[in-house]
Symmetry: C2
Subunit: 222 residues, 2 copies
DNA sequence: CATCCTACCTACTACCGCGTAAAGTAGCGA
DNA sequence: TCGCTACTTTACGCGGTAGTAGGTAGGATG
């Protein structure tokens, strides 16, 4: 279909195409399940081109990882940094905005999300996935630390917990784990509340964790 | 080491050996990274024997999955079911006991945990991993539903969130994602409080989420 | 219109790991 | 002591995939 091939494009454009295709295939098939042929086919391009622009399979995966992780971290950072009139500027408001940015990024770029988090983090690429994840958690800890009135190290377990909770809620929203579901219609079509999913999810998670975090902030002793 | 081979064992015992070895290797190398030869070597047994007792690689992995998932669910169910004198029997107490059981199971059988959760959940085996995970979340939802005074379906997103939070906290405790860490000693040796890790972790997570859950219970309207 | 650069493709090789077959060896009950 | 069978060693077929060698053609430039 669409014999886009044999059309000479600027390297920069092609590279972006290849990266997009790689993210798509990696998110569907996993790191090992995805073949370079499949990525090439998805990009409408031959395999050597994939190697020319993406390098080795591992390098290509690392590039995907880096791009998506950067997208997420950037989105959250700017969301927290900029005051938002629709939400207060206290701790709860900041938490809400950060979570909303997270859920927005994830629900609109679910392929990237899948690549980042639902891949084999064991084996050769543990370092890569782990590094990306660690960056996000680190960011969360930095945002949380002043809120809790402690050091960044002290905030780390809470940051891990929060990120994990957000992952879990995201999994629920995206429906299972992205695979086919057979049982009752558990999800996929959530009641349309006429509200953006990111707002709904962020409100849910804020409601669950904020009271506890607030209590921790007031009485950090134990 | 320990040339256990050439020792005729009851099929049932051998099967257990093979399963143990498979879980160990799968947890270290991942589903694709683990080779049947490696599993055979780990079990101190020849390859054909692995096939005799464990079947195909996929079947073997499914068996590992089932065993570990069952172990977790059983531990949590019994922990919640039996009243515990050291903790109240109200909602908070039940939550605490369930979490403690979860963390206890996970910290004492971290290989099984790794197999269950930190593997490629995409691709051909999404169904298997997803099913195991879903069972656990389902259990959590069933335990939460009466607490929140709603249906099991209504409790599902919260169950997902809780399970995700527990996963995140576990990742922090186990240090990174199980891979080698190079930077500063972020973890691995947490301050020994003279308390079981499961208790510490369960108390942390309870403190974070219980206030919010309690509030949801009192005012489930939005 | 001729030329050259290079983006791009077809076709191939090398390799790895699953799964099995064949033939022999040794534990253990009768 | 006999024999059953759990087990081992060795070897191989086969499917699939990472990565490459060398040929082809688009398109900017003179």
């Amino acid at each position: 279909m669409t014999p886009t091939a044999r059309r000479r494009l600027a390297p920069e454009v092609r590279r972006r195409q290849v990266l997009d295709a790689a993210i798509a295939v990696f998110s569907e098939e996993g790191l090992h399940g995805a073949s370079m042929d499949a990525i090439a086919a998805r990009a409408g391009v031959s395999k050597p081109l994939v190697y020319a622009h993406g390098g080795t399979k591992d390098e290509l995966f690392a590039a995907c990882l880096a791009r998506e992780a950067d997208r997420l971290v950037t989105a959250m950072t700017t969301a927290v940094g900029s005051g938002d009139p629709t939400a207060g500027d206290d701790g709860e408001g900041r938490l809400y905005r950060a979570l909303r940015a997270f859920f927005h990024a994830v629900t609109t770029h679910r392929q990237g999300w899948t690549v980042l988090y639902r891949q084999a983090s064991t084996g050769e690429f543990a370092g890569g996935v782990d590094a990306a994840r660690r960056g996000i958690v680190r960011r969360a800890a930095e945002l949380l630390a002043p809120e809790l009135g402690g050091s960044v190290e002290a905030a780390e377990p809470i940051a891990h917990t929060l990120v994990g909770a957000a992952e879990g809620l995201t999994d629920w929203w995206l429906g299972g784990d992205g695979a086919q579901r057979s049982s009752t219609a558990t999800n996929a079509d959530h009641p349309a509340t006429g509200e953006a999913p990111a707002d709904v999810l962020a409100r849910m998670l804020t409601a669950i964790v904020w009271p506890g975090l607030d209590a921790l902030r007031r009485g950090p002793a134990m």
